[in-house]
Amino acid sequence: MVATATRNRGMVVDCDIHNSTWPGALDPYLSARWRRHGELFGSRTHPGSLYPKGSPAAARHDAWPPSGRPPGGDLEFMREQHLDPEGIEYGILNCLGAAGTQLNADYASALCQATNEWQIAEWLEKEPRLRAGIAVPYEDAELAVEQIDRFADHPGFVQVLLIARTAEPLGRRRYWKIYEAAERHGLPVGIHFGGGARGVPVTASGWPSYYIEDHTDMAQAFQAHVVSLVCEGVFERFPGLRVVLIEGGFAWLPPLMWRLDKHWRRLRDEVPHLTRRPSEYVREHVWVTTQPIEEPHDPSDIRTVLEHLGGPDRVMFSTDYPHWDYDDPDRAFRVRLPEQDRQRIFSQNAKELYGLR
């Protein structure tokens, strides 16, 4: 273990930690029918992001637990390597994996349910600092709602988890039931980096050659969702809906709001169901997490971004542990902020949004 720098900060809330299943982890939570399906047919999805071979499982090289489980698959090791030394007061688990992306909707649903039960038994009940997103088969809203209704009341679940690369922009009606259920249960909807259901390329112009393009281009998917959620009137329809963009960056968000507002002045007749400027919906309904925060050549430019976002109250710190682009709470956010703002970003905003106490 590296000696850690002296810290004069308080505890932090980490809004993006990844727990992962290990081979066989979900078996106890699957019916015999779906266990057998998994054995005979396995996972059927379209390919999503492929991570660099040099960073297997997209993980930090030191994040492979000695137990032989995959990175993020060993609670004890996560405590030792991350939660304890980094002073994580609360951590939000976003379990990725192929459950929600399955082409077979019923199998997707069974895997999501198993994932949620596994999260309760193996994570939430064992570690009071952890909370989790509900895994849902998001391409089938009705099946997704079943999962939300089943698990929303468990105090460990604090959001509904969607993935950035969906089959259609997330404002489309096919997803509305998910928002209706989330709003009904008072849960934010988190949209996390990744996915690739239905073979949708990561860029709007097709598949890029390099991973560096893939990683950078993911912001396009987030932008498309923000524009879609606003323009389809989702926030008019579900005034209590709160959306968190996880691992999408956010320096691009203010210019997107400017552009939307500018066009809205001229094209508003096309979307008469919008009663306010697009940027107002974004300001009111959208939260963002920090990792991977854009790093301007002059770090203080981030302060300008925060200003343009209308203040620091929608930005929440995240590490992305145990993934290769992990951000360390002491070193990642290089810009100096007024203590009050720092506190909001590193803990208060998330506590309020997720009702952590």
Partner: protein, 153 residues
């Protein structure tokens, strides 16, 4: 500069490394083709355990798809975000963050040379707060057929 015996040469074969804690600092001692180098086990980027990373080379390429290695075996890649540092100098060889990790001098000395300096076996006494007293019983030299890797820090 105090010297610390950190290993016997044979303990760290070429291409291998040993991570030691010396004077409260975690340091990686690397054997690169018979030469020894030591750098701090704390990445200047975000503090990751740099010396636990993969040792490789830098890649050079004129066009996409064709590449070659430069300084193969002399570059350590941080296990966190893969920033790369030169084991010889501690320099990172990419521009945006003109950045460097602390390096330390190493030498190879024979076991008799270091008889009087802090020997590895005294580390526990050192750590427990003991200082050498003025008395010394007569001792006899025991040949140890291994050379020692010495860190100057």
């Amino acid at each position: 500069m105090p010297k610390h015996v950190v290993a016997r040469v044979d303990d760290i074969p070429p291409g291998q490394r040993k991570i030691v804690t010396v004077a409260g600092r975690s340091v990686g001692v690397f054997n690169v083709g018979g030469e020894f180098f030591a750098i701090r086990n704390q990445c200047p980027h975000e503090g990751g355990p740099l010396c636990e990373g993969v040792v490789s080379g830098l890649v050079s390429s004129k066009i996409p798809g064709e590449y070659d290695y430069v300084r193969r075996g002399e570059i350590v890649r941080c296990p966190w975000h893969q920033w790369e540092f030169d084991l010889r100098s501690g320099w990172s060889w990419f521009d945006p963050a003109r950045t460097r990790v602390q390096t330390y001098e190493t030498t190879i000395e024979s076991s008799t040379d270091t008889e009087r300096s802090t020997s590895a076996g005294d580390a526990d006494l050192d750590a427990a707060g003991y200082r050498k007293g003025p008395y010394e019983a007569e001792t006899y030299r025991v040949e140890v057929d291994h050379r020692l890797v010495v860190l100057h820090l």
